[in-house]
């Protein structure tokens, strides 16, 4: 029983990384009808830029936590900047209409191009090996009635919950949030009311960069290492989480991400680490066939309330 509870806590912690990335996927799918393949890259960039800055003794030769925290903050900023560049080349300069389902393959393919180009650039620069990230001691733990909780992971989980909550409130109550929801539901009607997609779509990419950058930074802190390929594993599991939770629903992505964390822990426990992707994506296929709207999705798939 104790072991089970401990695994449950571990799953929750692991899942919180997937949650943030799954929410990023949900935003672009829900609003732009666009499966953004640059998301794993943005996740990786925040970690790698943070690591590279630390490695070269930047920024400003600070030492201790001030140093790695600032390095990661710059990493997150880099993820946001790259995401905005991606917006230009997946949407703005290509002759696609925002939210047009018939031409959604074009941004998808160009975002896949970004994924491969950036990953390989980073690989050329730093090789494929994982690098140790000099963050806080990941083994600081809290003992709750025999169950060990790592403090950095707990903080990460709280930050994740907070950021998702803030995002949901923004979508619900702010002017920009309403504009985004209007584009998500009916781009034509939004256009008729004078909502300028060209101005508001970059907001989606900014949020995507922020969420992925944050997830990448938290990952670097929690696991103490970064790698040029770290985005692919996380990204694919986050897609699975998004689908299991229900396409187009933010809270669905949260639940789905946690489910994938749980599934992963159980799989590692019973079958070993090699089978994780098989079980996770197997679960995704089962959900798509038997219950395509997912846990919290809308009955017309992908058209839920954001």
């Amino acid at each position: 029983m104790m072991l089970f509870l401990q695994q449950l806590v571990n799953a929750l912690m692991l899942g919180s990384v997937y949650v943030t990335v799954a929410v990023a996927f949900t935003l672009t799918i829900g609003i732009l009808n666009f499966l953004n393949f640059t998301i794993p890259t943005l996740f990786m960039l925040a970690g790698m830029v943070g690591w590279a800055l630390s490695y070269w003794g930047l920024p400003f030769g600070l030492s201790g936590p001030l140093h790695w925290a600032l390095a990661l903050a710059i990493g997150i900023a880099a993820a946001i900047a790259v995401s905005l560049i991606v917006e230009r080349f997946t949407f703005r300069y290509l002759k696609t209409k925002y939210g047009d389902s018939t031409e959604h393959a074009i941004p998808l393919v160009s975002s896949l191009g970004f994924l491969l180009i950036v990953e390989n650039l980073v690989r050329i620069a730093y090789g494929t090996e994982a690098r140790r990230f000099p963050g806080p001691d990941a083994n600081m733990t809290l003992d709750v009635g025999g169950i060990l909780v790592r403090i950095p992971q707990l903080v990460s989980l709280l930050i994740t919950v907070l950021i998702v909550f803030a995002l949901v409130q923004m979508m619900k109550r702010s002017r920009i949030g309403r504009g985004l929801r209007a584009i998500a539901e009916n781009p034509d009607a939004a256009n008729i009311l004078g909502i300028d997609t060209k101005r508001i779509v970059p907001v989606v990419f900014m949020l995507t960069g922020l969420l992925c950058g944050l997830a990448g930074a938290l990952f670097a802190v929690n696991y103490g290492e970064v790698a040029p390929m770290m985005g692919e594993d996380i990204g694919s599991k986050a897609i699975a989480g998004m689908v299991i939770g229900g396409l187009g629903s933010i809270w669905g992505a949260v639940l789905g991400g946690l489910c994938v964390g749980l599934l992963e822990m159980m799989t590692v426990h019973f079958f070993g680490a090699d089978t994780v992707q098989i079980v996770v994506w197997g679960a995704l296929l089962v959900v798509l066939i038997l219950y395509p709207k997912g846990i919290l999705g809308h009955h017309s798939i992908g058209k839920g309330k954001l």
Binding site: R175, R178, G179, R181, A182, A184, E185, N186, D188, A189, A190, N191, I192, L193, G194, I195, D196, K303, G304, K305
Partner: protein
């Protein structure tokens, strides 16, 4: 107020609107009639900026808006109530009105929301209900309310009576008259010819993208040839190669 000259709209190889001249004076109700495929919706889309015209000019209150975005037209005072209402069903009634006032920054929107709720008590009692729970007629009222909170001086409506019960059609046309009495110009695209000509002062008849007739509403009403030719309708010589 609205001056349209030599307007051309082209989709790929199809010329949907061919050299249309059209005028709506301040506080006037003007109707555009025509069968399905005559180019009415294409005309409205070009007037509203969703489609960039291939030629011609759209001038509103002396400002050339031809190359401007829909947003620029909304802020200049031209709004469109699209065909099929297109309200946001994932939002509440009130959120839909907020979307109509999206471009307003004057901070006095609340008074206009109240005015809409006074005008449409059905909407007031359902303010925080999902817009999807409204009946078709109520949705049309919401679509018009959403257009009005932008404080327009010209409202363009695309087939507003489509799919409404006779009772709601009566109310709709009554409402358009009231708005007109308040000084709002109206450009009405309708299939319900009789009703449209009853409230309009002038009308245009479109056929295959061209204006084939332009006259006062009275003259058009008494023109039996028009009704025959027009209601004979669907004479679309589709010359597709397929």
């Amino acid at each position: 107020m609205l001056e349209v000259t030599e307007l051309d709209v082209v989709y790929g190889r199809t010329r949907a609107v061919k050299g249309v001249d059209l005028r709506v004076g301040a506080g006037e109700i003007v109707t555009v009639l025509g069968a399905n495929g005559a180019g009415k919706t294409s005309l409205l889309r070009a007037l509203h900026g969703a489609v960039r015209p291939a030629g011609g000019r759209v001038v509103f209150d002396g400002r050339d808006l031809t190359a401007q975005s829909p947003a620029a037209r909304v802020t200049s005072g031209m709004v469109l109530v699209p065909e099929g209402r297109q309200i946001f069903v994932s939002m509440t009634v009130h959120e839909n009105l907020l979307m109509g006032a999206y471009l307003r920054r004057d901070g006095r929107e609340a008074a206009d929301f109240d005015a809409i709720y006074d005008r449409f008590p059905n909407l007031a009692s359902r303010k925080y209900a999902s817009a999807s729970s409204l009946s078709g007629g109520e949705q049309q009222m919401l679509a018009i309310g959403r257009a009005l909170v932008a404080r327009p001086r010209l409202v363009m409506l695309d087939e507003p009576s489509l799919g409404l019960s006779p009772l709601f059609v009566e109310r709709l046309f009554g409402l358009l008259r009231e708005l007109n009495d308040d000084g709002i110009g109206i450009l009405l695209v309708e299939q319900n010819t009789a009703m449209a000509l009853e409230i309009a002062s002038r009308g245009y008849v479109l056929e295959l993208g061209k204006v084939v007739l332009e006259d006062s509403a009275d003259a058009l009403s008494s023109n039996t040839q028009l009704t025959e030719a027009y209601l004979g309708g669907e004479s679309l010589p589709e010359t597709s190669g397929a």
